[in-house]
């Protein structure tokens, strides 16, 4: 056992050196790291440890597509489509179109009429299917035979719609968060209907939530006038005043036609406003509507609430306008961000939020460091007073062990979280277990009367099987933690798993090498253990 091939020694020393080299930049203070990084080309910039949101501060928000509202929209669209088909085919129905939670139903008394519209409805289902890209049919068309026809959205249809809404939302959210000027946000889909947004180091989590929680569907609609058909009018809430206001259902111009929106100040009152500009289509439409309706109130509707309803004094043909609504500067700023980034395809609810202030993050880092130093210190002293010179070897191995864990975390780009630090502190305790197993075995063999070399040999060889078995079980637990855990727990699992893998190299091979070198130098007559 005590012959060590030179290449092994070189490999172990090389690995140790490499680990220290990888870890070193993370030990620099942020300012000296910046100074170093600025002198190097991009690709040569050394990676540093990525701190989790619980350590550097930041927000982790989980959003979920609001299924009821998606379903509602789908059902409303279905009603419009059904009405259009019935009108086009000139089919008479009795009792009107009944709106249901999942779709519509209507009664067609005439059998020939029914036969006429069924293919049309099937074609409609096909077009939904094409739009959603679903395998199973998104619509369920049911003809009960006695004249009642029911068209409903299937679960597949809803799921597909939600899935697409998530995809589109991710893009919109990315644009919105980019506007906040934060660095390295992470936006990921989770499951069918969720999005996880992580924004590190955010100063104002409220602004993030304001920006994420709004659909930002902007519409321009005319305020209704007395004598209009009630079927064409909708009562909407107002943001500025109490009470509702009646506006026409028909949307004149939509937020989709905006090309730009910027916060500004009203020229007369100095009040914060949002200035917007339309694309050509929007500008034309806007000009047309405003010229036809001079003198009427024009409602600016955001997410089904009326922000303001100014009177049209002159036709606005320049393609740009202004939204005022007694905003604060921040509100105007947020609204312009939302309008620039576009509307979300569906309402998103915040189902989970974890925000850590930067101060608390720093405190956690300090506490974690302190715990790690004290823990490592205690273990090191304990090993020294228990095993003497062998304890020195175990401690050196422990030092390399910790360096390799951190190097592993850095190279994997894995984030270091507070539970991750706990995992590392724990592996500090566990790591020496392998050394303890070996050393106790060596002692045992020596007590049983074996020679020095035979004791060392047996100690390492026999303990090895035990070390492998016990570490594999621990590793299994860590792997399962990783796959099932979320966020910080995953960080813990990664540190733990890395620690276990490293143990084999440092506690077994490296210690063995050190003892071999020591043995050849010291030529002991009795093992000091």
């Amino acid at each position: 056992m005590l012959r060590f091939a030179t290449w092994k020694i070189v490999a172990i020393l090389g690995m140790t050196f490499a680990a220290i080299l990888v870890v070193a930049p993370s030990l620099l203070s942020p300012s000296s790291y910046e100074a170093l990084a600025s002198k190097l080309p991009d690709w040569a910039r050394p990676p540093t440890i990525v701190l989790g949101l619980d350590l550097q501060g930041g927000s982790n928000v989980m959003l979920e597509v609001d299924k009821p509202s998606v379903l509602h929209t789908l059902a409303m669209n279905l009603r419009d489509d059904a009405r259009r088909i019935l009108r086009e085919e000139k089919v008479a129905i009795t009792g009107g179109i009944g709106q249901q939670a999942r779709g519509v139903q209507f009664r067609v008394p005439d059998a020939a009429d029914r036969a006429k519209i069924m293919p049309k409805l099937k074609a409609l289902a096909q077009s939904y299917s094409n739009r959603l890209g679903a395998g199973a049919p998104p619509l369920d068309i049911e003809d009960s035979g006695d004249g009642l026809i029911r068209v409903t959205v299937t679960d597949t249809g809803l799921t597909e719609k939600v899935r697409r809404a998530v995809d589109q939302s991710i893009e919109v959210i990315r644009r919105r968060i980019d506007q906040l000027g934060t660095r390295e946000p992470s936006i990921q889909r989770q499951g069918d209907d969720r999005i996880v947004v992580q924004v590190p180091g955010l100063q104002d989590p409220e602004q993030l939530k304001t920006i994420l929680g709004q659909t930002a569907k902007l519409e321009f609609r005319l305020v209704s006038e007395p004598g209009e058909n009630p079927a064409d009018v909708e009562e909407l809430e107002q943001t500025e005043q109490a009470g509702k206001i009646g506006v026409e259902k028909q949307v004149m111009v939509q937020g989709e036609d905006l090309t730009d929106a910027q916060p500004g100040f009203d020229q007369r009152g100095g009040e914060p406003v949002v200035n917007f500009r339309f694309n050509i289509k929007g500008a034309q439409k806007f000009g047309e509507v405003t010229s036809k309706n001079v003198g009427r109130l024009f409602a600016i509707v955001l997410d089904n609430k009326v922000i303001s309803a100014p009177r049209i004094l002159t036709p606005i043909t320049g393609g740009s306008g202004q939204i005022s609504g007694h905003f604060t500067v921040e509100q105007a700023n947020n609204l312009s961000i939302l309008l620039r980034a576009g509307a979300l395809p569906a309402k998103l609810n915040i189902v989970e939020e974890r925000t850590v202030g930067p101060g608390l993050g720093q405190d956690s880092i300090d506490a974690g460091k302190r715990a790690a130093y004290v823990g490592a210190g205690l273990v090191v002293v304990y090993m020294l007073i228990t095993y003497g010179v062998f304890g020195v070897f175990a401690n050196l191995a422990l030092f390399v062990h910790i360096a390799i864990i951190f190097a592993g975390l850095i190279l994997l780009g894995s984030t270091l979280t507070l539970p991750g630090i706990a995992g590392i502190v724990l592996t500090i305790g566990m790591a020496v277990d392998s050394n303890v197993l070996i050393y106790e075995r060596i002692r045992e063999e020596q007590h049983a009367g074996r020679s020095i070399l035979a004791s060392l040999d047996a100690g390492f060889n026999r303990a090895f099987a035990t070390i492998v078995d016990s570490n594999v079980t621990m590793f299994v637990a860590a792997a399962i933690l990783y796959f099932l855990g979320s966020g910080p727990v995953r960080g813990f699992a990664v540190s733990l798993a890395l620690g276990i893998l490293t143990t084999i190299v440092t506690a077994v091979t490296m210690t063995r090498m050190m003892i071999a070198v020591w043995y050849h130098r010291a030529r002991p007559t009795r093992l000091p253990i």
Binding site: G359, A371, L378, V379, Y382, G388, L418, V489, P528
Partner: protein, 343 residues
């Protein structure tokens, strides 16, 4: 230099004799743990119960728990728990799910923020909705169950089936007692606690495997000895290591508990309890279980009954075997389906 020894050398504790005490005791403790779990509810954190935690730090002076409670009362958020937390300037506010779902939950946070903004910095906000917390419970439970099954499989493959079953029984025992510990102490139970429990499972198995490994080795070496004697001898042999390792891990966890900060504290306490229980169960639960499961030493008599009388005879076969150190060959050959140790 005189080196420190926590465990006396060459111990010969008749561990197997204690199984008449340890089994009823552990059974009683396990039942108590289950009863505690059922009747004294765990202090579920918001990860599992759903709800909101807001951590505040006073901008100047110390946090006024009374004032905060009064403010919270006015906001009508249901049951609000206000607690001093860590240093004098810190306090946490915790309240449950708001009627009205996720949107109402967010609105409640906003109300609290506005109410305390002038005097306090908001250091941490966690909001977990009802469905998310349900899923966290599911995945947590699944994790524990899966890891036990996976380890059972591994041990079955590496050892005899009796070893695998004993290890799993010991691990479940540790799991129960840890859950009971959470119920008794009312330490907050959250996702980090699940991590603690899984780590305890890992540690417990680690302990068990070390003892089992030695038992297997001894069984090959001393074929004539009864299982009970073998087990006693094995445990005594690994005792110094068991104590040594438990102490180092304890030291590491102690520093985590004292210096690691408030968030990690319940994790550290649970782990400390866990290593105590895991060490105990590897010796007093897992190993005797082998006897009950009818593990037989080859050619040895059926173990158990004669353990006490034979305990004194241990000395002789050990001495007889000692002068023949490098003799793993024959033992390996008769090792049957178990894999040879890497001697």
């Amino acid at each position: 230099m005189k080196l420190l020894r926590l465990a006396p050398e060459n111990t010969k504790f008749p561990f197997m004799r204690f199984r008449r005490v340890s089994y009823p005791m552990s059974a009683a403790l396990s039942i108590m743990a289950v009863l505690l779990f059922v009747f004294v509810h765990m202090n579920f954190g918001i990860d599992f119960a759903g709800g909101t935690v807001i951590e505040l730090r006073a901008k100047g002076g110390s946090a006024e728990v009374g004032t905060l409670r009064a403010i919270a009362e006015k906001l009508s958020l249901g049951d609000v728990e206000v607690q001093a937390f860590g240093s004098q300037a810190d306090a946490t506010l915790r309240f449950g799910l708001q009627p009205g779902g996720d949107v109402a939950q967010q609105a409640a946070v906003e109300r609290v923020r506005n109410a305390v903004e002038n005097d306090y910095d908001v250091r941490r906000v966690e909001v977990v909705g009802p469905r998310v917390s349900g899923e966290l419970v599911q995945s947590g439970t699944l994790g524990v169950v899966l890891s036990i099954i996976a380890v059972l499989g591994y041990l079955w493959f590496r050892f005899e089936w009796q070893f695998a079953i004993s290890a799993v029984i010991a691990t479940m025992h540790d799991l129960l007692l840890t859950v009971g510990f959470f119920a008794l102490t009312q330490l907050e139970f959250n996702t980090t606690s699940i991590a603690a429990i899984l780590t305890i499972v890992g540690y417990s198995l680690n302990e068990t495997v070390v003892v089992l490994d030695r038992i297997r080795e001894m069984m090959r070496k001393y074929k004539k000895m009864s299982t009970a004697q073998i087990i006693d001898m094995s445990i005594n042999a690994v005792l110094p290591r068991t104590i040594m390792t438990a102490t180092t891990v304890f030291l590491a966890l102690l520093s985590l508990a004292i210096f690691g900060g408030q968030v990690i504290r319940s994790f550290s306490f649970a782990m400390i309890w866990g290593i105590v229980v895991a060490t105990y169960s590897s010796v007093f639960i897992c190993s005797p279980m082998l006897i009950y499961l009818g593990l037989r030493n080859e050619d040895g008599e059926r173990a158990g009954a004669s353990a006490e009388e034979e305990a004194e005879k241990i000395e002789k076969p050990k001495k007889a075997a000692a002068p023949a150190p490098a003799k793993p060959g024959p033992a390996r050959a008769s090792g049957k389906k178990t894999k040879p140790s890497t001697a």
